[in-house]
């Protein structure tokens, strides 16, 4: 059964036809049921390149005109349509498709239905389904394919509000929409927001105090710089990228999965890259081609883990339909690559030309061919000399093993003639070993040893001992012995112990060749050069080769060759073919280029999203026709150009965004603004944001004083009660994602993710109320507060500072003191102290989970 993964037919009609809306369903029917069948079964002989019987079926007009037998169809009358007769095989002279089996009954009835309903057909002949049929000039006029322009920030009426260029872009829109920005955030709000934004952790009460007391003009800039310099910055921002990279350490299925136990090296590489403020263009290039870029040892070892973006890609279960599974893996690579870096859904073109964007099917296979020209590999991490020695040693071992195997095999082959001859010597009674050896072209010394052996042939082969036995039985026994010896030879050319002794005894007397090669092998295997190096999950080049287009996505139906090259819409009408190996480096250069209109835009939009909870382009991984248009196109361009001009520096981008007035707005509600723009598209306030699961869990541990701030290293088990490491270090599974991560909207790592969905359900609150994690953390938090302050009044203040970065109000103090003084009705039933209960309330509350 053919299988097509992508659904676009339905929506397509709306955009590609200019028919009245009520006909849209008929066109949709054509698109989903008729056009694909025509493309696959008919157009080869009745299309642009070939028009058998002068019939073409690639446009509405051509179908109506028909060929030598007349019109192919009569719209509204399937019964009288020639096409139906042909595909029904009603007329033995007119059976179509001619060389293939009859179309399935349901397809035939689809055609009848289509014709009876009037044969809606949007194909006007200008956009042939055969060629790429794209008006490239027009296609490139789409906003996201235009180079981002450095726009002068607009003039605004309220000149006092903007602090930066960003603000002028935002305010200009607000003024058009007649919205007024709300008040600025308080310093407490600001430092809490900034600290979570940049590090995913709450500010320490002491850090809040320093900021409150700092009345200098650049007080907030100092906070930003301090946070950007913190190693926790990388832990926060690399995790965002890992969502896009669908980072995980295993595969989803059960059988034959080898866990990627070194996956953490890629995670740590990403964390370090952010901490080092690695330019984004380099960040891209290394993930695609670190092995081709870095030749010097230290840098190479440092950056090879970058290849984990694809080295950790999905590997599907391959048994019966391996070709399909391999094709699905390519889909994962192309999808992650193009949505992740370019905001383009190139995978939609796996089975057919993209329905909405100027991406012909061949472009998909041009990219896929790059991934078939390399393979996922465990790459050793060591200096090049050491890796070379390791590889040479491994090669030597392999060669010796192969030699040993050949030798063993050929010697074993000689067993039967020698054993039979030895028996003959005994049976002939003359025992003229030399004569028999000469007659049978055997070695006399070996034969002599064989004669002795045959005399005492082991149990199971007694027949060889008997001189009276029939020769054929002896031959059978000798062959059996040979077979036994042969099957005992393993991959490394070693025989099992008994058979090895047998051959040694018969053929080599004392100076066994086997013993010799064994000794050499053992020495090699134990040598320092053979000691394995740590590995990282990366890519290795294979023989580069272009793919052929899979017609309708079917690996068994091959179309034109797709040269390895970049996308036509971005690289021009005749994109240069990639010639360096697989072409990964050339691909990386094409993506990480200032001339690429998408790369910088897509990334600044992602960064904006994480600072505001809402991106400028609402579909961060789709900048195509079906994606959202930017709310602030000029601002997006301004940010993209500035990002590139600033050397693709993330830290400079964060700084520019966070120093703006718009970032520093409060999250306060304003009724007038809200009624007009409830979604805050125009940014009249900052958005109140819920902490993602990582920050939320880390913040609980931080408040409790339990957070283990160790950086990097192998993956940790989030379910272990004593795991106090940051959540970014937890194992991420495609097979069985940790329950807490899943519950709090962590994305499924089988597919690239552009944003966290946000759900609020009672199961999450059960975790707050009852989970051992929250309760143990609350206990630690209570113990900390009790230790750090002397009276309940002071403790309450301390607890609020730790949890929320602010003092408790008088009302709050009163409520909590009253609670602390309360008496339990049934004290024996309760195993949490009043302070522990308070601590649980504080970390379980809304204020803890949401950031203003």
């Amino acid at each position: 059964m053919m299988k097509f993964r992508f659904l676009a037919w339905l929506v397509c009609a709306v955009f590609t036809s200019n028919l009245a809306a009520q006909d849209a369903d008929k066109v949709a029917f054509f698109e989903s049921r008729i056009r694909p069948v025509l493309v696959e079964n008919c157009l080869k002989c009745h299309g642009e390149t070939k028009a058998n019987a002068k019939l073409r079926l690639d446009s509405k007009a051509a179908v109506l005109k028909g060929g030598i037998s007349g019109p192919a169809i009569v719209p509204g009358n399937a019964k009288d349509s020639l096409l139906i007769k042909a595909i029904r095989h009603a007329d033995p002279e007119l059976k179509m498709p001619s060389k293939e089996t009859k179309l399935p009954d349901n397809v035939v009835s689809d055609f009848e239905k289509w014709i009876d309903l009037g044969a809606a057909d949007p194909r006007d002949g200008k956009q042939s389904a055969v060629a790429d049929g794209i008006d490239w000039k027009k296609a490139r006029e789409f906003w996201s394919f235009q180079p981002p322009k450095k726009v002068e920030p607009p003039k605004v009426r309220n000149a006092s509000w903007p602090k930066t260029a960003i603000d002028r872009f935002v305010l200009a829109k607000l003024e058009v929409e007649k919205l007024t920005p709300v008040r600025p955030a308080t310093k407490r709000e600001l430092i809490r927001r900034a600290t979570f934004d940049l590090t995913g952790l709450p500010p320490a009460p002491e850090e809040v105090e320093v900021f409150l007391k700092d009345e200098s003009a650049d007080a907030f800039a100092k906070v930003i710089d301090r946070l950007l310099a913190s190693p926790h910055y990388g832990e926060r921002w690399a995790r965002y990228w890992l969502d896009v990279a669908r980072y995980a350490e295993d595969q989803a299925h059960t059988f034959a999965v080898i866990p990627n136990t070194n996956a953490w090296r890629y995670r740590d590489w990403a964390i370090n890259a952010f901490n080092d403020d690695m330019p984004y263009d380099r960040f891209i290039k290394l993930q695609l081609a670190a092995d081709m870029i870095e030749t010097e040892d230290a840098a190479r070892m440092k950056h090879l883990p970058a290849l984990g973006l694809f080295g950790l890609g999905a590997q599907y279960y391959k048994n019966t339909d391996a070709a399909k599974a391999a094709a699905d893996e390519l889909d994962d690579r192309v999808d992650t690559l193009t949505r992740g870096f370019l905001g383009l859904t190139v995978s939609c073109a796996r089975c057919h030309d993209h329905k909405f964007d100027p991406i012909p099917q061949i472009d998909y296979y041009s990219l896929a061919g790059i991934f078939t020209s390399c393979k996922i590999a465990n790459v050793p991490l060591g200096d090049s000399a050491r890796v070379k020695r390791l590889e040479e040693t491994q090669a030597k071992i392999k060669k010796l093993e192969a030699e040993a195997k050949t030798k063993a095999n050929s010697k074993v082959e000689e067993l039967t003639p020698y054993l039979v001859a030895a028996w003959k010597v005994r049976a002939a009674k003359q025992q003229d070993i030399a004569a028999i050896a000469a007659a049978d072209k055997l070695d006399a010394a070996v034969l002599a040893r064989c004669v002795k052996f045959v005399e005492k042939a082991p149990n199971g082969f007694e027949v060889m001992r008997k001189t009276s036995a029939a020769e054929k039985d002896v031959v059978t026994a000798a062959q059996a012995m040979q077979k036994q010896a042969k099957t005992s030879i393993n991959k490394k050319g070693q025989l099992d112990k008994n058979n090895k002794e047998l051959l040694d005894k018969l053929f080599y007397a004392d100076d066994s060749v086997f013993q010799l090669s064994d000794a050499m092998l053992t020495k090699l295997r134990n040598s320092d050069d053979a000691k394995p190096l740590p590995i990282t999950h990366g890519l290795a080049e294979t023989a580069p080769a272009n793919m052929k287009v899979f017609l309708r996505g079917n690996p068994a139906k091959l179309g034109d060759e797709a040269p390895r090259r970049f996308l036509k819409v971005l690289a021009g009408d005749d994109p240069a073919k990639f010639t360096q190996g697989s072409g990964r480096l050339e691909l990386a250069n094409a993506i990480a280029s200032k001339d690429n209109p998408l790369t910088a835009r897509v990334m600044v939009n992602r960064v904006w999203q994480y600072h505001f909870g809402r991106p400028l382009v609402g579909t961060p991984s789709n900048f195509g026709a079906l994606g959202d248009r930017p709310t602030h196109p000029e601002l997006l361009d301004y940010l993209a150009v500035a990002f590139m001009e600033n050397g693709w520096s993330f830290k400079k981008l964060h700084r520019a965004i966070m120093l703006s007035s718009v970032y520093q707005l409060s999250a306060e509600r304003d009724e007038k603004n809200f009624n007009q723009d409830g979604d805050n598209r125009w940014l009249w306030r900052q958005n109140r944001r819920r902490l993602d699961v990582e920050s939320w869990r880390d913040a609980m541990l931080a408040a409790a004083g339990k957070l283990d701030r160790t950086l990097g290293g192998p993956t940790t088990n989030l379910a272990a009660v004593d795991n106090n490491r940051r959540t970014v270090y937890a194992k991420i599974s495609r097979h069985d994602l940790n329950h807490v991560l899943r519950l709090f909207d962590f994305p499924d790592a089988n597919i690239t993710s552009e944003r966290r969905v946000e759900t609020t359900v009672p199961q999450q609150q059960l975790f707050v109320l009852n989970s051992p994690f929250v309760i143990e953390t609350a206990k630690a938090f209570a113990a900390r507060v009790q230790k750090e302050a002397a009276s309940d009044t002071e403790r309450i203040q301390r607890a609020f500072q730790l949890a929320y970065g602010r003092p408790a109000s008088a009302e709050e103090s009163r409520l909590f003191e009253t609670f602390l003084q309360g008496q339990d009705a049934e004290p024996m039933a309760n195993r949490l102290s009043r302070w522990e209960r308070v601590a649980q309330i504080l970390i379980g509350s809304n204020e803890f989970m949401y950031v203003d």
């Binding site: 599907y316 009672p762 999450q764 809304n846």
Partner: protein
């Protein structure tokens, strides 16, 4: 205001009809983390058209039961025993031998006379409720891709499961319980991807219940508090609520904050109400005897209690691993049948007695079938070319067999139904047009049935 996305959703799914997608709270489901109204994503929602079934129970015979030993009798296997007449064999995972007759007798059952294997004496008593499909087929004869196909409609682990789609589309009737519950003692092969939400929000994932220990306090994660009495916890909750309300009051109206306050209260109630549903001691001795005792029996009884309380989708695995995978000896099907026969029959009877069967759909079957030819001396290999499943209740015709396999039961021949067709048909019974239940995931509209699926109206009562 009609947003661009609304427009797309309506035009994309509508074609003059009102699409489901925009009935769902668009902002919530498409997860714009904004101040707009966050409707409860689990709240019940109207189907596309009148639903015949309001809920579904999938009793999953994981491992792949043999059709010719259960619901698709083939006398020719006896006639040609040991032989390989033309058309009797097609490629499967392993090499198989000649045709092997079923070791089991088939009995005409019920008024309809539907033939049922002797290994299901009690299910046979429900024959007049069964709608057997003898013409199922799937793509490959391997467990993993076929399990995924049956549960998620794709051979790779990259799509949401049917239960997740149903709750996404229809919500669920009981807010104190998960909308989609899956029961397996441990994991089946593949594991949690079989009830995955994939790109749908995480709350649509099936809640996995390990029914090897149906302790009501522990079946759902974090369901009960072992530290505080109910009174002490309520006192604590009251202070938390007070704190949250003061926080909210300072900020004016804010939907996500309000939603979480409500959700916290719901969680408090859920601790007690959700425990109740798993407490089988609340059932009468007669009912418990009807189902019998055992893991699978308990799961079936819990399934009835769940759907009775409005849970949308329940899935019960025969056991962990792949219990029906009888490569070595097909006679072992008798043991598996003994596990499921009584409780499945009890479930049908019990649902019927309570008036629930008419709008509860029960699906029985595996991920594929088995070969009519022998593997080794007495086993059968996987078979994707043809197999049988049955439906009951929920608007299907009882006492009927749809479609037919070939003379030997190797491949589906008449009225062929692919798994996509089964899914389309099930969704239709649940009031959903399978082509209109879509989710926009990064620029594409996905659905359970991919680009396939035909509703089989012949099965409907």
């Amino acid at each position: 205001m009609l947003t661009r996305r609304d427009f797309l959703t309506r035009t994309a799914t509508g074609f003059g009809l009102v699409g489901l997608a925009h009935l769902l709270n668009d902002q919530q489901l498409l997860a714009t983390p904004q101040a707009g109204a966050p409707a409860n994503p689990l709240a019940p929602r109207a189907p596309h058209f009148a639903a015949k079934a309001k809920r579904i129970i999938h009793v999953f015979m994981n491992g792949g039961p043999s059709q010719v030993d259960t619901f698709d009798p083939k006398p020719s296997l006896t006639r040609y025993a040991g032989q390989n007449p033309p058309g009797s064999s097609r490629g499967t995972e392993r090499r198989t031998g000649g045709l092997m007759p079923s070791p089991f007798r088939f009995n005409p059952s019920g008024h309809s006379g539907l033939p049922v294997s002797e290994i299901f004496p009690r299910i046979a008593q429900c024959a007049d409720d069964l709608c057997v499909i003898r013409s199922m087929h799937t793509n490959v004869p391997n467990h993993e891709p076929s399990l995924l196909m049956m549960t998620c409609g794709d051979m790779q682990p990259v799509r949401p499961s049917m239960g997740s789609w149903l709750v996404y589309g229809l919500g669920t009737e009981n807010q104190n319980l998960p909308g989609f519950v899956t029961m397996c003692p441990g994991f089946p092969v593949v594991g949690p991807a079989l009830w995955s939400n994939s790109f749908l929000p995480g709350i649509y994932q099936g809640a996995h219940i390990n029914n090897s220990n149906m302790d009501p306090r522990r079946v759902l994660q974090n369901l009960s508090n072992t530290y505080l009495s109910q009174g002490a916890q309520r006192e604590q909750m009251d202070l938390m609520r007070r704190l949250n309300e003061m926080h909210l009051a300072q900020r004016g109206s804010d939907n996500p904050l309000e939603a979480r306050i409500q959700s916290m209260e719901m969680a408090f109630r859920m601790q007690f109400e959700a425990q109740e549903v798993f407490d089988l001691n609340r059932e009468t001795a007669a009912t418990r005897d009807l189902y019998g005792r055992g893991q699978f029996n308990d799961a079936c009884l819990v399934a009835r209690r769940l759907v009775e309380r409005g849970v949308r989708a329940v899935q019960i695995y025969t056991g962990s691993g792949q219990p029906w995978d009888d490569h070595a000896n097909i006679a072992n099907h008798r043991v598996n049948a003994r596990t499921v026969d009584q409780p499945v029959a009890a479930l049908l009877k019990d649902l019927k007695n309570r008036g629930l069967l008419e709008d509860t759909l029960v699906l029985w079957g595996g991920e594929f079938g088995r070969t009519p030819t022998s593997e080794g001396a007495t086993g059968r290999d996987h078979n994707s070319h043809g197999f049988s499943v049955w439906l009951a209740g929920g608007g299907v015709k009882g006492g009927m067999a749809w479609g037919a396999s070939d003379e030997f039961g190797f491949s589906a021949q008449e009225g062929r139904m692919h798994v996509h067709d089964l899914h389309a048909t099930i969704l239709h019974l649940m009031g959903i047009d399978h082509e209109r239940l879509t989710y926009r995931y990064s620029g594409r509209d996905f659905r359970l049935t991919d680009v396939s699926g035909t509703v089989n109206h012949n099965l409907f009562a």
